[in-house]
């Protein structure tokens, strides 16, 4: 069931598999980033932080308080945020720039393209408050296009951690690379699935759950990214209790894609469901589909936002309304299994 090698939190499933989030250890992914940046700053004095008037919200405050000389408050100016960072990177700094994902990389895409990826500078773009579960702030503040915007850029690494612990590890890891990187964070508290012992390597997908047995291949594979991974795991556990064989992959690195792992999953399951809090167009599922269409055509059902904007509501209401809840993942699984040849 739970892949022991992943060394996950033993309490990720409630006894009855109902998704009542009060049952889980909860922590915001952005908190993990804040802790990770502080740790990265302690490890390397070239790490600098720049923020567009959202120091507290994006959890850069831990770093800014500890290293005031290495922190630059840019003000509400996201175009300047990334271009100033490009200049600092040119001088050997490793800049982390944070804002809400809707504004960075939402507003400053061309500056990111020209001065960071085209220019090949190791700037780390931190997009907090991504996804529709930003909630009551409404559609203007719900970035559900950011993965598409970033993964289309040559050289850009795209990371979408599933929980706070993974976000901390990812932040520390990407401070050590020379790649321009986008890391996607979420505002609300979400279940902590991983532990300190869970392995993390940029570009390496992980199997978190597998209920296949007796040497048989699973009936279906689920590939999830970000906090929705937890719902995917709950669905997998529920279906497995009814006898289905399901394998679940955590795809925290959307670019570069772990094509070996995806190919293996596609070959062994013959049917996939992708799950992400993002537009289906251009998102993680698209990346998986682009690869498999060329190398191993496989039936895929996509769980994500279908060409719509969000609105105000609680995260749970919005996830349900935009068809990314437990029932929708189940439905996608049933559909894709029927499509198997």
């Amino acid at each position: 069931m739970i892949n022991e090698e992943a060394k996950l939190n033993p309490n990720i499933f409630p006894s009855d598999c109902a998704v009542d989030e009060s049952d889980f250890e909860m922590k915001a992914i952005r908190e993990g980033f804040g802790e990770g940046l502080l740790a990265a700053g302690e490890l390397d004095e070239n790490v600098v932080g720049l923020c567009a008037d959202l120091v507290e919200s994006t959890k850069m405050n831990l770093f800014a308080d500890k290293f005031p000389n290495r922190f630059i408050e840019i003000g509400v100016a996201e175009q300047n945020l990334v271009t100033v960072a490009s200049g600092m990177a040119a001088m050997g700094k490793i800049p982390f720039v944070s804002s809400y994902a809707m504004f960075s990389p939402g507003r400053n895409w061309e500056q990111i393209r020209t001065t960071i990826t085209y220019n090949d500078r190791p700037v780390k773009i931190v997009g907090s408050h991504s996804g529709i579960s930003v909630g009551p702030d409404g559609g203007t503040h719900q970035a559900i296009e950011d993965i598409a915007l970033m993964r289309v850029l040559p050289r850009m690494v795209v990371i979408s951690p599933c929980d706070a612990i993974e976000a901390r590890k990812a932040t520390i890891a990407l401070a050590k690379t020379k790649d321009p990187t986008y890391i996607r964070l979420a505002r609300e508290k979400t279940p902590v699935m991983t532990t300190e012992e869970t392995p993390f390597e940029i570009g390496k997908a992980q199997i978190f759950f597998d209920s296949s047995h007796d040497g048989k291949n699973p009936d279906v594979g689920i590939i999830a990214t970000g906090a929705l991974l937890h719902k995917a795991l709950v669905v997998a556990k529920t279906l497995s209790n009814d006898g289905a064989m399901v394998r679940v992959m955590n795809l925290h690195t959307i670019k570069p894609l772990d094509t070996d792992a995806i190919l293996k999953l596609a070959r062994e399951t013959g049917a996939l469901v992708t799950v992400e809090e993002h537009q289906i167009a251009g998102g993680m599922g698209s990346a998986v589909a682009e690869y498999l269409a060329e190398h191993h055509p496989t039936p895929i059902e996509f769980v994500g936002v279908r060409d719509q904007y969000g609105q105000s509501g609680t995260p749970d209401e919005l996830i349900e309304h935009y068809s990314m809840g437990v029932s929708h993942i189940k439905e996608a699984i049933n559909k894709v299994i029927k499509r198997k040849k």
Partner: protein, 287 residues
């Protein structure tokens, strides 16, 4: 400053002009007006003021030069070639397939560039970032970050975001030189999007402003000397330049902003003669 030295810099500026015109004739596309107007400033920077070593482009202690308005790169390439970064002959590959001299500067192709540019309005921010990085490292008195900008790109919000930040951070190790030639693609800057009172705007943003004649070697040197002495403020040198400087039929004509010889207005010189006449005029200048 001896008369000899001034003559030397004037001669270098003219060499830069001749080579960039030759490159544009070969390229059959590209910008003429801005590069010609800025040649004197590039001459002073590359042959007098800038701390750099063409034989060791990665020298860590070098000054940094950020060209924000990347479309005037023919003058940058020409100045670099004459300074010894690469052969002058290579200028004739400008804009051609496989060339290191891309239509707009790209440091993947020419790594000795400090930045890739072209899309307007983001160079000043990068220069601010460089100046900030030097301050963090305690090197703010060791070198200058030069940033060359245009008046057209002062239509961009990104430019003003950088102006605000540089003023806030009091970056005296940053010197911006703006090519205030009053033209942009669609016409006169004051008709397209008025920038005046330009000097007062910068003063209000807490910059030190120096006005110079950007086609007068001595005045350029005077302006830079003053700029180096400023403490606690970023500096902008507002260079009044003549677009198309040195070629009579191009001077002060916005139609020459984005055209090479052979593609410009024909009311004075016909297209087939534009390159020839331009080179003839430049080569006839005596020093």
């Amino acid at each position: 400053m001896s008369a000899e030295e001034i003559k030397h810099l004037q001669k270098k500026a003219n060499d830069i002009r001749i080579s960039l015109i030759e490159a544009l004739i070969e390229a059959k596309s590209g910008h003429s007006g801005g590069p010609l107007g800025m040649a004197d400033i590039f001459s002073v920077l590359y042959f007098k003021e800038m701390k750099h070593d063409p034989k060791n482009p990665e020298w860590e202690e070098r000054d940094r030069l950020v060209l924000s308005n990347g479309h005037i790169c023919p003058v940058l390439y020409s100045a670099m070639a004459h300074a010894g970064y690469f052969p002058v002959e290579e200028l004739k590959t400008l804009r051609k397939f496989g060339s290191r001299l891309q239509g707009h500067p790209h440091r993947e192709y020419l790594p000795m560039l400090e930045n890739s540019s072209g899309p307007l309005g983001s160079g000043l921010s990068q220069a601010v970032g460089m100046a900030l990085a030097d301050r963090i490292d305690g090197k703010q008195n060791d070198r200058i970050v030069w940033c060359l900008t245009s008046d057209g790109e002062h239509n961009e919000g990104n430019t003003w975001e950088a102006v605000l930040l540089a003023g806030k951070e009091k970056l005296h190790n940053l010197i911006q030189i703006i090519d205030r030639n009053y033209i942009q693609i669609d016409g006169n800057t004051e008709e397209i999007m008025p920038l005046d009172p330009f000097v007062e705007k910068y003063k209000a943003f807490n910059w030190h402003v120096i006005e110079i004649n950007g086609n007068d070697i001595l005045d350029i040197i005077r302006g830079i000397k003053e700029a180096r002495s400023v403490e606690n403020k970023p500096v902008i040198i507002v260079a009044d330049t003549v677009p198309g400087k040195g070629v009579s039929f191009m001077e002060n004509r916005y139609e020459w902003h984005g055209n090479p010889p052979g593609k410009g207005p024909e009311d004075v010189v016909t297209k087939d003669k534009q390159g020839e006449v331009a080179l003839k005029e430049l080569r006839a200048i005596n020093f």
